[in-house]
C-alpha cells in the first residue's frame, strides 16, 4: 500500500497465487477436433470450457464444446444463443458441469480475447482462458491457461492483465490403459487381455533393468550416488512382505488352485451349453 501522494500500480497477486487448473485430455481432443473441422474462413476456434471448481480452489476442466463465432479486424461476435443451447443440453446429462472458462486456439492472447473474456466473466466470476497452440509455433504444442487480473492504479481500473496459471494434465486410469492407442494415428485392432498383459510385463521388466543398471553404476562409482534415490529403492524392496518360503508357496498355490477351479467350472458350463443347444434344436417329435 502506498503512503503519501504517490499512487502505486497494484498487481493483486494474492488471489491467483494458489489458483491452478487441471485439464482432462478429452478437452484437448475436443479442441483439436473442432479445430480440424473449423469452417474455412475462420482462423481460430473459440469455445466454452465446462468443469467444476474443486474444494481447494483448483479448476477442474472436464469437457468443452465449440461455439461458432465471426471475427474481423475490429470486432468479434459470438453466437450466444448457441452457447446457451449447448450449455442446457450438456447440463441435462451432467448437471454438475458448469462453465469455468473458455478456450481459443492460437498462441498468444489477442485484443479480441479481452472482449470475449469480459463476456465470459459475466457468466462466471473468474473464468479461465485456455489457449491451445495448434500451429505449433514454438516448435511444440503449448497449452496455457490464464486468468484475468485487474490492474488498478490507486482507485481507477486501468486494464485487465492475463496472468498465466499452472496447468496440469490429468488422466484417469482407464484412459491410461488405452493411452497407447490414443497416441498414434491409427491402430489396427484393440489389444486383447493377454497382449496387454505382455506389454505391461515388458515395461515392468524394463523398469527393473533400469534400476539394476543404476545400482550397478553407483556401486562401481560411475554415477554419483543420490541418497534420496537410494532410499526410494530400499523402501521399495522392503515393501515386499516378508513371508517364509513355505508360507509364500502355499499362498501362491492356493490362488492358483482357485483360478484353476474357476477355469474348470467355466469349461464345464460351456460344454453343457453346447449339449443343451444341440438337444433343443435337434429334438423332433416323431
Amino acid at each position: 500500500m502506498a503512503a503519501g501522494d504517490r499512487t502505486v500500480l497494484q498487481f493483486s497477486t494474492q488471489s491467483t497465487a494458489n489458483l491452478s487448473a487441471k485439464v482432462h485430455p478429452l478437452v484437448i481432443f475436443n479442441i483439436c477436433d473442432c479445430y480440424v473441422r473449423r469452417p474455412d474462413q475462420a482462423e481460430r476456434v473459440i469455445g466454452t470450457l465446462l468443469g467444476s471448481i474443486l474444494p481447494d480452489g483448483t479448476v477442474d476442466i472436464r469437457n468443452s464444446y465449440a461455439v461458432p463465432h465471426t471475427e474481423s479486424a475490429e470486432q468479434v461476435a459470438l453466437d450466444i444463443e448457441y452457447h446457451h443451447n449447448m450449455l442446457v443440453s450438456h447440463q441435462k446429462v451432467n448437471p454438475k458441469e458448469v462453465i469455468v472458462g473458455w478456450y481459443s486456439t492460437g498462441l498468444g492472447v489477442t485484443g479480441g480475447s479481452a472482449l470475449i473474456h469480459d463476456f465470459y466473466s459475466r457468466e462466471v466470476p473468474n473464468p479461465v482462458h485456455l489457449t491451445v497452440d495448434t500451429g505449433f509455433r514454438n516448435g511444440e504444442g503449448t497449452v496455457r491457461a490464464y486468468v484475468s487480473v485487474n490492474l488498478a492504479l490507486g482507485d481507477r481500473q486501468l486494464a485487465a492483465q492475463f496472468q498465466e496459471i499452472p496447468l496440469d494434465l490429468r488422466m484417469v486410469e482407464a484412459e491410461r490403459v488405452g493411452f497407447d492407442i490414443l497416441k498414434t494415428t491409427s491402430v489396427d485392432k484393440l489389444p486383447t487381455d493377454l497382449e496387454g498383459m505382455e506389454v505391461t510385463m515388458q515395461r515392468l521388466l524394463a523398469l527393473i533393468d533400469d534400476i539394476y543398471k543404476y545400482v550397478d553404476d553407483v556401486v562401481e562409482g560411475r554415477v554419483a550416488a543420490d541418497n534420496s534415490i537410494g532410499r526410494f529403492i530400499s523402501d521399495t524392496v522392503a515393501a515386499l512382505p516378508k513371508l517364509s518360503p513355505p508360507a509364500f508357496d502355499k499362498l501362491v498355490n492356493d490362488s492358483l488352485q482357485d483360478q484353476l477351479l474357476l477355469l474348470y467350472l467355466s469349461s464345464i458350463t460351456r460344454t453343457q451349453l453346447g449339449l443343451a443347444e444341440k438337444l433343443n434344436t435337434a429334438a423332433q417329435i416323431l
Binding site: 485430455p25 464444446y65 488405452g178 487381455d193 493377454l194 515395461r203 492358483l256
Partner: protein, 338 residues
C-alpha cells in the same frame, strides 16, 4: 457390375440397387473412445447410453463423434424431451461441422451382461432407419482390471430375417443352421486419430516407461471381480433352467396331444369300420374342429438363446481373468524367488 455395353442414363444408374458391402471394420476416433470412457465411468454403476455419429463408407463404418443421453428418471414426459434433446444436439453439432449422421449408439454394461431383448429391439428400431448401425458396448468394471473393454456389435443378417418373421421354432432354426453364437456379430475395431491430436498427445505425455506403466493390470486382487462374475453366472443358469423347463413342458404337452390324436383316430377308424359294415358313409378321418387337433404354439427360443449367449460371455470373461491371474501369480513367484 458387368461391363456396360451401352452408356446408361442417369436414371438407370440411380435405379440400380447398390450392393451393400458387408461391414468389416468399425473405425473409431480416439475422441469418441475418451468420451465414452468418461461418460460411462462418471455414472457407473448406473447404465448409460449415448448416440454415435459418423460416416458409413464402403466396408468401414467411421465413428467420428458421439454425445451422451441424459438419464431417464420416469417415462412420463420424457419421451418428447428425449427426442428434443437429440434434435437439439444434432443441430448444434451440425453448426460446428460435425458429421450429423447417426450410425448407432453406445451403452455401458456391468460385467458383460448386455444381451437382453431390449438390445435386440433397439437394434431393430435403428435398423429401420439406418442401413448399417452398430452398437458399442463398454464395460467400466473390466477396465478397472486394466483392459480396455470396448466391443462393437451388430446383429447378424440371418438372425434379423428370422426376427422379422417372428418365429423362433426349432425347424426354422435348423434350416438356417442358426445357433446362439450367430445372434450377435462382433466387428473388429480400429482406432484412428488425426495427426494434430497425436502430435499433441506425444508432446504432452512423454514416452518414458515410468509414466506409462499401467499398474492396474498387475493388481493381484481379482477375487471380487471373479466372485461377481460367478454370481451372475449362477443367476443366468437359473434362468436357463427355467427356460428349459418351459420346453420340457411344451414337449410333454405335444406328446400328450399326439397320443390323444392317435386315440381319437383309432376310434374314428373303428367307427368307420362299423359304418361300412352297416353300409353308411364313412366319417372323415380328420376333424379340425376338435380341440385336440389345435397345434400348440412352440415357445420362442429367443430368450434361451440370449441367456446362453450371456453365459458364454461370462465364461469367456472368467477364462480371460483367470489367465491374467496366472500370469500375475507366476510373476510374483519369480520376483519373490529372486
Amino acid at each position: 457390375m458387368a461391363a456396360s455395353s451401352a452408356p446408361r442414363s442417369f436414371l438407370q444408374v440411380a435405379a440400380t440397387e447398390e450392393v451393400v458391402s458387408p461391414l468389416r471394420v468399425v473405425q473409431i476416433e480416439g475422441l469418441v473412445i475418451l468420451k465414452i470412457i468418461k461418460h460411462c465411468k462418471e455414472f457407473s454403476p448406473a447404465l448409460v447410453t449415448g448416440q454415435l455419429l459418423g460416416l458409413d463408407v464402403g466396408s468401414v463404418l467411421e465413428v467420428t463423434n458421439c454425445f451422451p443421453f441424459p438419464i431417464r428418471e420416469e417415462d412420463e414426459e420424457i419421451e418428447a424431451d428425449g427426442a428434443n434433446y437429440q434434435l437439439e444436439m444434432m443441430r448444434c453439432l451440425r453448426e460446428v461441422n460435425v458429421d450429423n449422421n447417426t450410425v448407432g449408439w453406445y451403452q455401458s454394461t456391468i460385467l458383460g451382461s448386455y444381451q437382453t431383448v431390449e438390445l435386440i429391439e433397439t437394434f431393430m428400431n435403428y435398423q429401420e432407419n439406418i442401413r448399417r448401425c452398430v452398437c458399442i458396448i463398454y464395460d467400466p468394471s473390466r477396465s478397472n482390471q486394466g483392459v480396455l473393454a470396448l466391443k462393437a456389435l451388430k446383429l447378424s443378417d440371418s438372425f434379423m430375417e428370422l426376427y422379422w418373421a417372428n418365429s423362433f421354432t426349432g425347424e426354422k432354426l435348423r434350416e438356417k443352421n442358426l445357433s446362439w453364437v450367430d445372434i450377435f456379430e462382433e466387428i473388429p475395431i480400429k482406432v484412428s486419430n488425426s495427426a494434430l491430436i497425436s502430435a499433441f498427445m506425444t508432446e504432452l505425455e512423454a514416452d518414458t516407461p515410468v509414466t506409462q506403466c499401467d499398474y492396474d493390470r498387475l493388481q493381484l486382487s481379482s477375487n471380487p471381480y471373479m466372485e461377481r462374475n460367478v454370481e451372475f453366472l449362477i443367476e443366468c443358469m437359473d434362468d436357463l433352467s427355467m427356460e428349459q423347463q418351459k420346453f420340457q413342458y411344451h414337449y410333454r404337452n405335444l406328446s400328450r396331444q399326439q397320443a390323444q390324436q392317435q386315440a381319437w383316430l383309432q376310434k374314428r377308424r373303428a367307427e368307420n369300420m362299423a359304418r361300412k359294415a352297416a353300409g353308411e358313409e364313412p366319417l372323415p378321418e380328420e376333424d379340425p374342429t376338435n380341440p385336440i387337433f389345435k397345434p400348440i404354439p412352440e415357445p420362442s427360443r429367443l430368450e434361451s438363446f440370449l441367456i446362453t449367449n450371456q453365459i458364454s460371455n461370462y465364461c469367456n470373461q472368467i477364462n480371460g481373468v483367470a489367465g491374467q491371474s496366472f500370469n500375475r501369480l507366476y510373476l510374483m513367484k519369480a520376483l519373490h524367488d529372486n
